[in-house]
């Protein structure tokens, strides 16, 4: 399939014409020629108040695309522009002032207090030894609050459950005051209530214009409920892109995921996606 051009915004148009993130014909491959393509050329745009979701089976290129957007990988071809500036022209520190990444965390070698951990998010904004100033503390506490983790501020990282830890990791990302927030499977360790709460918070962050959100997820229903735009990846190719109700069709999903699926349109306009499982 040919890479699609511009995304279709379902929410009100952004106040300014320039998209937050613009991905233009970006591809990636491992190894020297003949390359093994991990990602075929892909193009899309994300506005400053959008939640953009990458979906697809394992190995479809979601994580690679996220790493390209984070700037830790450089594309083989194509351009990634953040507010009109090419990503590879930003140094590590400037990038970290604008882009925050939430991914599966390594275990910490030595335990840290939650507040100390969140204060790490202030690192790209500080200089020298980066002892926190009053402003940094204020922003860290505010970030904890926004992530729904205010009551965890005085705990230790090693005492937290998977779900609590995920909130604290989000808080650290928010303390970076990013304009683009990237998340890799953010709902993995969360229970049902936690998943919905997290997605609501992300939705709010985007809608309020604080940060654009790009997330990779396995969960088609969460993507359908909360994303303005979805990109379906199938073995490195763009299988579909656009608003959930246009893209998440039975035919497309069955082809990509290789299992029979049923898509129902609810009266209020949301989609429900069920795998069709025959009991043996």
């Amino acid at each position: 399939m040919k890479p699609t051009e511009t995304p279709v915004a379902t929410r009100p148009a952004p106040p300014r014409a320039l998209p937050r993130l613009s991905v233009q014909g970006v591809s990636y491959a491992y190894g020297s020629p003949p390359e093994q393509f991990v990602l075929q050329p892909v193009s899309f745009e994300v506005a400053r108040n959008q939640v953009f979701s990458l979906v697809g089976p394992n190995g479809s290129g979601k994580s690679t695309l996220l790493r390209l957007l984070a700037g830790t990988l450089e594309p083989l071809a194509g351009k990634i522009l953040l507010d009109g500036i090419e990503l590879k022209r930003l140094d590590t520190r400037t990038r970290a002032q604008r882009i925050a990444v939430v991914q599966q965390e390594n275990p910490l070698l030595f335990s840290l207090g939650v507040l100390e951990f969140v204060l790490q998010g202030r690192y790209p904004h500080g200089s020298g030894l980066r002892f926190p100033e009053r402003e940094d503390l204020k922003l860290a506490l505010q970030a904890l609050d926004q992530a729904g983790a205010a009551r965890l501020a005085r705990r230790w990282m090693h005492e937290l459950s998977g779900g609590e830890k995920q909130r604290v990791v989000l808080a650290r990302a928010l303390a970076q005051q990013p304009v683009l927030l990237l998340l890799d499977e953010p709902t993995l360790h969360l229970d049902l209530a936690g998943q919905i709460d997290l997605l609501r918070r992300l939705r709010h962050l985007a809608t309020s214009g604080q940060t654009a959100v790009v997330l990779a997820t396995h969960d088609l229903n969460l993507a359908a409920d909360f994303a303005d735009c979805v990109l379906v990846l199938d073995r490195g190719r763009t299988a579909g892109i656009g608003p959930p109700s246009d893209v998440l069709t039975e035919a497309l999903l069955q082809q990509v995921f290789g299992v029979p699926l049923r898509v129902e349109q609810r009266p209020e306009g949301t989609l429900r996606i069920f795998p069709e499982v025959n009991r043996v």
Binding site: A96, L109, F110, S111, G113, E116, L119, Q120, Y123
Partner: protein, 338 residues
């Protein structure tokens, strides 16, 4: 739980510096012939031109010319090894990293011995060769310690221990070619010894070690993030390649400087940062200066014991730290692997 402030760093540093001075002064009074406190006080005051005290010949000879350089050297070596240990722990993302356990000290020792075969002892060449030996060993252990592209604790430690054993074997071969008189001194040096002649003046050693530590300290905030993983650190704005290079060079240089003046004193680089983390937390902005002062105090203390326990015979200080350090290392390793 409060975030670390500059004030707390200064407070803890001042406290530990006070402890170091106290242990240092006590150490100056102890030896084969103990110096009574009053006499020691008069002697030190006289040497520092405080009050009207005069320095007796005995005092000048024993305290100022024999013991003082020894105490200063012990402090320097302890500080260098502890900071090197803390640095390697961040670089290798391994809380059990230690210059001795990972064979880096042996690499530096081999470099130093090779330089002895090439030229006269006690020159800048010794330190430079030890530095190259340490750099090469870190690189080797780093590569051997990988499994599936990741540094893995048991593999890394095993790689270090085997490397140390291999390098020691080469040192043994080289030593058999040396004449008997030099051999005894070298064997003692290898066990960790603070009575050997210095390749540089004590003053220049201090300058070199303090400058290296200062360079390492510029990365203290980055090291906190590096501990969480290289990719996370990069996402938070750390220039990972530059920081790793600085730590690699500085920690290797500190190891080489320490080894070239004192041989292989083991486990300090492991135990001191561990103790500091238990007492004051794991933030590198405090950990580095606190480890330097704590390590200096520990080695001054150990060397005082080594000089006095079996006086007039001197015990090698490296053997003393190993007797204490090895069991504690096993304990920490078991706890870490659980």
């Amino acid at each position: 739980m409060r975030a670390l402030t500059a004030r707390r760093v200064w407070l803890v540093t001042a406290l530990l510096a006070g402890l170091l001075v106290l242990i240092g002064v006590i150490s100056l009074g102890l030896g084969a012939v103990p110096t009574p406190p009053r006499e020691l006080g008069a002697c030190l005051a006289g040497a520092a031109h405080i009050g009207a005290g005069s320095v007796s010949a005995d005092c000048r000879m024993i305290v100022l010319e024999l013991r003082l350089p020894r105490v200063l050297l012990a402090a320097l070596v302890g500080a260098a090894l502890s900071v090197a240990g803390a640095g390697f722990q961040a670089l290798l993302r391994n809380p059990l990293a230690d210059p001795y356990v990972l064979g880096i000290s042996s690499g530096a020792a081999l470099g130093a011995i090779l330089s002895l075969l090439a030229g006269p002892p006690g020159t800048l060449l010794t330190g430079g060769a030890a530095f190259l030996g340490a750099l090469a060993t870190v690189a080797g252990v780093y590569l051997l310690g990988q499994r599936h592209g990741h540094l893995d604790t048991p593999t890394l430690l095993l790689a270090g221990v085997i490397t140390a054993s291999f390098l020691s074997a080469i040192i043994m071969f080289l030593m058999t070619t040396l004449p008997g008189r030099e051999l005894r001194g070298l064997a003692f040096w290898l066990m960790g010894d603070l009575s050997s002649p210095l390749p540089l003046s004590l003053r220049w050693l201090y300058v070199a070690v303090l400058l290296t530590m200062a360079a390492l300290y510029t990365t203290a905030a980055d090291l906190n993030l590096l501990l969480a993983g290289e990719q996370e650190a990069e996402h938070l704005g750390v220039n990972v390649r530059r920081v790793k290079l600085v730590v690699y060079l500085c920690a290797s240089l500190l190891t080489a400087l320490a080894v070239s003046v004192s041989g292989a004193i083991g486990y300090v680089g492991l135990l001191v940062p561990h103790a500091i983390r238990l007492l004051f937390g794991s933030d590198y902005r405090l950990l580095l200066p606190a480890s330097a002062l704590g390590g200096a105090t520990a080695i001054v203390f150990a060397d005082t014991l080594a000089r006095t326990v079996a006086a007039p015979t001197e015990l090698p200080v490296g053997a003393m730290t190993a007797v204490v350090g090895a069991p504690l290392f096993i304990y920490l390793l078991r706890r870490h692997l659980q």
